[in-house]
Every structure is written in structure tokens, then in C-alpha cells.
């Protein structure tokens, strides 16, 4: 029995990854330029068809379209996750120095990023899991530029690690992607804003209370005056 441990989670099943993505898609404003990171963030693209939102692929494309269907792949047209994608009317390609000029230069209205940990101050740790044992090197990719450069950073992640540890905590213990960069955290249980006063719980999934979320979170949460059940 010593190899096992007890984890407290709600009775209600958490959101599927697709539903986290949907909740985030509903936060995006018309007329936005948005960059979606690898993982759950990429799924947001499934929920914005027909909306006036332009996706940037940091490899060097604006208005990147849906995944290419089998047989329709163009080997020279991929996104930052190495998936074959479609072009759309109004798409453009550019070099990657220009791509990151856009990102650092504040032209992205929103970046949706995955995370390993988020702190109460909005610090983001996402690129280096120390358990891998690679020390101070790892795959940074575009994450640090996006975290620093996007006008709004939304983190999309599961509330717990696969090992059942909370990912929202007072201080990150993993190497940081950027300090004080996260604006909103959307997990499979809750929506939490990062404010100058600390973390503010805005929404929880049906059947889960604010008290439950606090117990599942290793940082103090304030409950928003307009706290409500998450709608999808």
C-alpha cells in the first residue's frame, strides 16, 4: 500500500479537454489575433469556425486554417505542432523573425498556452519538467515569447498533474516560462482570473463549489462577487 496515495477530487467528472477549449473559445472577442499553443490550446481552433478570429501559426503564417484532410496535405504548410494545415482567403506567410516581431510587439490579442504550473501571481511554468532530468535545458520553443508578448495570456490545462498534484500554487517550483504573465486560467474544473489582488475564482463546473475548488488549489482563491456555474 505504501506506493499508493489518496487524492481528493470532486464526484462530478471534470471537463473533457475539448470542453476546456470551448470555454476558452467563448472568451475570445471578434476581431482578435490569437496564437494557440501545443496541446489543449490547439483544440480551441475547433470552436471558432465562422468567427472573425485570425489564428497565427508562429512558424510564420497568419490566418492558419483547419487541419488538412487526408490526401490534401501540402508538405510545406504546417503549424507549430507539425500538423498539415489549410490556407484561407487572406492567409499570409512570412519569415519567423517577423512572426516573433508580431508576438513580442504586442500584436497578439490573446495567446492560449498550456502549463505545468501557474502561481498566485500569474507566473507560468510550462517548458521544463524537472522530473525529466535535463537540468536547465529543454524545449522552449515559442512559449516564452508568447507569454511575454501577448496582450492577454489564457492558460488551458488540467487542474491536477497526472500524479494528482495541484498545478495552481503559491509559487511555481518548476523553471519559469515567464513571470506574472497569466491573465486567466481555465482548467477542467474552473475559471480563475489572475488579478493584482491574487487569484479570483470566477466559475466552476456544475456540481462543484467554490470551497471544493479551493481545496483542489495550492494557492489562496478569492471568490468573485459574480462567481457562477460554468456555461458551455
Amino acid at each position: 500500500m505504501s506506493g499508493l496515495k489518496k487524492v481528493i477530487i470532486p464526484e462530478m467528472p471534470p471537463l473533457e479537454r475539448e470542453m476546456i477549449a470551448l470555454r476558452i473559445a467563448n472568451m475570445l472577442e471578434e476581431g482578435s489575433y490569437v496564437n494557440l499553443g501545443i496541446g489543449i490550446p490547439t483544440l480551441v481552433s475547433n470552436w471558432i469556425e465562422g468567427r472573425d478570429i485570425i489564428l497565427q501559426a508562429e512558424i510564420g503564417m497568419l490566418k492558419s486554417g483547419p487541419l488538412a484532410e487526408e490526401g490534401q496535405e501540402e508538405q510545406d504548410r504546417i503549424n507549430a505542432s507539425c500538423q498539415f494545415i489549410c490556407a484561407m482567403p487572406g492567409s499570409s506567410y512570412f519569415d519567423i523573425e517577423t512572426s516573433f516581431a508580431m508576438i513580442r510587439g504586442g500584436r497578439m490579442n490573446v495567446a492560449v498556452l498550456g502549463a505545468l504550473q501557474v502561481s498566485a501571481k500569474g507566473d507560468l511554468a510550462g517548458w521544463n519538467n524537472p522530473s525529466r532530468g535535463l537540468g536547465k535545458v529543454g524545449n522552449i520553443g515559442g512559449s516564452m515569447d508568447l507569454a511575454v508578448g501577448a496582450r492577454k495570456v489564457i492558460v488551458a490545462m488540467e487542474h491536477f498533474t497526472p500524479g494528482g498534484e495541484p498545478k495552481i500554487m503559491s509559487e511555481c517550483s518548476y523553471p519559469l516560462t515567464a513571470k506574472a504573465c497569466v491573465d486567466v486560467i481555465v482548467t477542467n474544473y474552473a475559471v480563475i482570473d489572475v488579478t493584482p489582488d491574487g487569484l479570483v475564482l470566477k466559475e466552476a463546473i456544475p456540481g462543484v463549489t467554490a470551497e471544493d475548488i479551493q481545496k483542489m488549489t495550492a494557492a489562496p482563491l478569492k471568490v468573485a462577487a459574480d462567481f457562477k456555474e460554468m456555461e458551455l
Binding site: R77, Y93, D95, I96, E97, R104, V137, G141, G142, V148
Partner: protein
Amino acid sequence: MDKAYASVEEAIKDVFDGAVIAFAGFFSAGRPLELTRALAKTGVKGLTIVAQQVGTGNEEILELVVNGQVKKVISNYPFPRSATKGLEHPFEQAVRQGRIKVEVYPIGTFVEKLRCAGAGLPAFYTPTGVGTVVAEGKEIRVFNGIENVLETALPVDFAFIHAWKGDREGNLVYHCTARNYNNAMAMAGKVTIAEVETLVDAGGLDPDFIHTPGIFVKRVVEVGRPKLEKASV
């Protein structure tokens, strides 16, 4: 000014032991496959590789690693995405065993270091990386109330790049997202060598739509359209 070479072997003949070489490409798109394969067949060693991927999604560079030709890697996303796959990956093993040194940067910093080398600018400040291991030991400076880290230019001895079309004077055009690092690396290269899918005579490209002007390119070699499998990342 005819910069065309008859073969990739000829075009890379003067690459020397210990050279710093930039390889363009972002996962499967825009990699100089033929130049890199030719390099793996030479005996050059002690190379410093400047590239986004090493091995994952870049089997040609992996060959250089397996051959023991690589001493150091400067990158932004060098390892397999999956930790499990990484344990078995020859590059990651070489790093864990201390046989290859690694330096990592955020993409924006990585590519700007290359552009600055090409643009004759020795250093720049960027907000990216402040408060992270990337900024450790580097100067931090506040501009307009925001902390920035000082980063320096990264010139390379050779840049290996891949273009869709090129003319004999070195003017290049890229296709879709295969453009990625090609221009910045062309700028950074003391000797930039471009493999092109189609080579045309001077005048065969529209002068309003050249992506990399020929002045940045020393050699051009025609290699045809690459046959690519989707990369495993």
C-alpha cells in the same frame, strides 16, 4: 555573378572541422535535406549545430549526431516532445552523457540573434526570458519600466538553407511555412549555401517578390522537390 554549383558535395566542400553551421527548417518544413545528408558523408567533426530541432523531426541532423560529428548544439526545441521517447533518443542520450553541449533560447531570441548577426548589430535587449534560466548570468536592464535581458548576435560560419526557387545570382523564394528560419540564417551565414528545388537564370524571378536577396547567398545548388514523410516529433 553565377553562384550555381553542380552538386551539393561541391557546394559544401570547404566545411571545416569545428565549424558553426546553421540549418534551416521547422519540423518537416524547409529543411536543407540534401546539403545535410552530404555533410553526414564527409568526415568533418567537432561541429556546432544551430537549428530548431536536432533529430526529432530532423533525421538528417540526427545522422550527424550518430556519426559523432557534433560537439555542441544551439537551439530552441532540440529534444523529443515526449520524455519517454527522449530517453531512447541518441541526441538526448549524448546530452545526458555530456558528449554534446546544449544552449537553448526562446525562438524569438534565437532568430533575432541570427538576424542581428546578418544585420551588423552586435546585441539587443529583449523582454523575453527575464526571470527564467535563459537570463541567468546575463545583464538585465529596465527600459520604460520593463526588465529586459541583453542578448548578443550569433554569426555562423555556414548556413545551410532550402528554397523553393532560386536564380543563379542567389535570389531566393520560399514556399508557405517552409520559409521559417531560411532568411534569418541566410543573413547570419558567412558562407550561405542554398539548395533550391528549381534553379532559374537571372531574371527568372519577379524582383518585387524575392524573399532573400542574392547578396546574402554565396552558393546555390538545384536539388529538386524533396520527398518528405511527415516528421515524428
